[in-house]
């Protein structure tokens, strides 16, 4: 058992990062460190790294993710303002106020694998929706379908693009999902893998001090954005390379150009959606502009949340995600906060 623990301690720490208010895309740079391994689901992590402010709805969302962490996991709160109000999930978290939380995360990882004490769940273990309701089986839908029997919306039939009225599945994802801008939550209705309807919602990120270095401009901002986009496309190694460049300040223009070349060769631009949201622009063209490290690429204009939501209808789920991410601006302002 001790051999096992020693091995586990030295492993790259699997971290699930939740970006809150005032974090920007700074946490994306953490994947540059080979001692950390970013994971896409809290179930795979030993450490939950909460970066920034979590108040109100963001705090509630963090509580839910906290309870999805395996019961031996540890929580680290990376914040510029440790005295701010914190949600229950951060009550027992290690607080870290410095610029680089890698050591704190590693310490938490070693603790989590060597003395696995059960972390308490912060939410009551009860279904968020009562099981009783309409329907033959009291599940809340019609006949044997639909409803939210165990807090999970069930399928219900509706028309689709093939002219069949097949089951559709409503789901709500975010705001900490890979590929969603900070504080953005998506409510979508899917049929198979195709989005039928989608609505974007920007949760309130709150006011307060930002993490040091959260704001980035120019090529560094583009590289942060690119690193997340690359992870979304399954190119983890290239994402790590982009994050390393960003962390080094994105000063080496030749290295940046080499990364851009590798990204073009990977076929990522071709894999991205060409469904336009704004006149003459689509996810692919916005990716291309980022790859040129074009100063206008960031898109300082606020995300037109309702127009994006409409544009997602009819797209494959992965296309929908990249469309949303293509609108993520790198600065602090919540991208979806202002809908025109």
């Amino acid at each position: 058992m001790t051999v096992l623990r020693r091995l586990a301690q030295d492993a790259p720490a699997p971290v699930f990062v939740a970006r809150g208010g005032g974090a920007g895309l700074l946490p994306v740079e953490l994947q540059a460190d080979p001692r950390l391994r970013m994971v896409g689901s809290a179930r795979h992590a030993t450490v939950l790294l909460a970066a920034g402010r979590f108040a109100g709805a963001m705090g509630d969302a963090l509580d839910r993710v906290h309870d999805q962490l395996p019961s031996t996991g540890a929580v680290v709160w990376w914040t510029a303002d440790p005295d701010a109000a914190r949600p229950p999930s951060l009550a027992e978290a290690t607080v870290f106020g410095g610029p680089d939380p890698v050591e704190a995360v590693l310490a938490a990882h070693r603790r989590a694998v060597s003395q696995p004490g059960a972390r308490r769940a912060v939410l009551a273990d009860e279904p968020p929706h009562p099981f009783e309701g309409r329907g033959d089986h009291g599940q809340g839908g019609e006949g044997m379908m639909g409803g939210v029997p165990f807090g999970r919306a069930m399928a219900m039939t509706a028309d689709d693009r093939d002219g069949l009225a097949l089951d559709q599945l409503p789901l709500q994802l975010g705001p900490f999902l890979l590929g969603l801008p900070n504080g953005v939550r998506v409510s979508a209705v899917l049929q198979g893998g195709v989005v039928q309807e989608a609505e974007l919602e920007g949760l309130d990120l709150g006011e307060g001090r930002a993490l040091a270095g959260a704001d980035a401009t120019g090529a560094r901002a583009d590289l942060r954005w690119l690193a997340e986009a690359l992870r979304l496309g399954g190119l983890d190694a290239l994402a790590r390379r982009a994050a390393r460049l960003a962390r080094a300040g994105a000063t080496d223009a030749a290295a940046c150009a080499r990364v851009a070349k590798l990204v073009r060769r990977s076929g990522l631009p071709a894999a991205w959606s060409k469904v336009g949201v704004v006149e003459g622009e689509d996810a692919r063209s916005r990716l291309e502009r980022r790859l040129r490290f074009d100063p206008r690429a960031g898109g300082r204009r606020p995300l037109p949340a309702d127009r994006i939501g409409r544009a997602l209808a009819g797209q494959d789920w992965s296309d929908a995600l990249v469309t949303i991410w293509s609108f993520a601006s790198v600065g602090e302002r919540a991208p979806a906060a202002a809908a025109p």
């Binding site: 030295d10 689901s41 165990f150 890979l178 893998g193 399954g234 494959d316």
Partner: protein, 310 residues
């Protein structure tokens, strides 16, 4: 298998080959990734898969709400067992393969087809949205490339006039299939990436669905699943070495050594493809699979057929 001892030895042998193979896959995957990320990985890399496995072993398995428990437990085991079945038909030298059955290729195809079932059950059983979504799109893609796999394998069987793998390797003594049927290996690589849900075809466990069918898996079940994926990739690498790269044929070195070298080369190619190529969107892949890849598979079969007429 000629006697009873073999029946008991076969699963152990298959598990042993796959354990080594899966570990090799993990190390090569990390090495290629580290090289591409310019992270200068050290010798510590050799231990890293074991370390990451230890993390999963130290973790408790999480439970979702109302899962299909039987299927959730069975599907990783089924997937691992399929990798084992697949690797039993691969011949390692003129005289040794775990089970050199007459219908080797069809048995391999059956294991491939059951992968779709295992993957679907894995995503479906956790009773969670993203795994279900991933499983669903995997089945759509899987049914599309399965035909491809049968076409290229049958094309490889034509010059050998047998479905038996050792005969297929034997038939490549003069000319390897990778030259004789140039379309075969690239198409088979597509099938390999899909079946092990790897790299550009990581549709079932992709990052855009939070780890897909494995999104809710942690602890030992998660470890078994990850191991089985790597083992499946290793089995495919060994199979392509046998069917397209001439198997044990080669100068100087003994047969098994050539197989090992070719298998490691194939693992490197597959791993590099995983790191260098972006994931294709499921919907467009299905279209490409039917419109482009399947006709190419036909062409491969036609080339093989014409070649054997001469």
């Amino acid at each position: 298998m000629s006697n009873h001892a073999d029946i008991w030895a076969a699963p152990l042998l298959a598990a042993g080959i796959l354990a080594v193979g899966a570990y090799t896959v993990a190390v090569i995957h990390l090495a290629v990734g580290g090289w591409l990320a310019q992270a200068r990985p050290g010798v510590g890399l050799l231990l890293q898969p074991a370390r990451s496995a230890a993390v999963l072993m130290a973790q408790p398995a999480t439970a979702t709400e109302r899962p299909d428990r039987a299927m959730a437990a069975l599907s990783p085991a089924l997937y691992a067992a399929l990798a084992a079945v697949a690797v039993t038909v691969v011949p390692w030298s003129r005289s040794f393969s775990i089970a050199d059955v007459e219908t080797g290729i069809v048995l391999w195809g059956t294991a491939e087809a059951l992968v779709i079932v295992a993957m679907f059950l894995h995503g479906w059983s956790s009773n969670s949205h993203q795994p279900l979504l991933a499983a669903y799109r995997f089945v759509a893609a899987g049914v599309s490339y399965l035909l491809l796999s049968m076409f290229v394998l049958i094309a490889a069987a034509i010059p050998a006039e047998s479905l038996q793998l050792s005969r297929i390797v034997e038939s490549q003594a003069g000319l390897w299939n990778v030259v004789r049927q140039p379309l075969g290996l690239p198409l088979f690589v597509v099938v390999a990436l899909g079946s092990a849900t790897w790299g550009p075809l990581d549709l079932a466990d992709g990052s855009d669905v939070s780890g897909g069918t494995a999104a809710e898996a942690s602890g030992i079940p998660g470890l078994v699943w990850m191991w089985a994926r790597a083992a499946m990739l290793a089995a495919f690498a060994a199979m392509s070495a046998a069917v397209f790269l001439g198997g044990w044929h080669g100068p100087v070195l003994p047969g098994p050594a050539w197989m090992a070298v070719k298998t490691v080369a194939m693992i490197t190619v597959l791993s590099a493809a995983g790191h260098l190529l972006a994931r294709v969107p499921a919907e467009r892949f299905v279209t490409w699979a039917w419109v482009v890849l399947l006709p190419l598979g036909f062409a491969d079969l036609a080339i093989a057929g014409l070649g054997s007429l001469r």
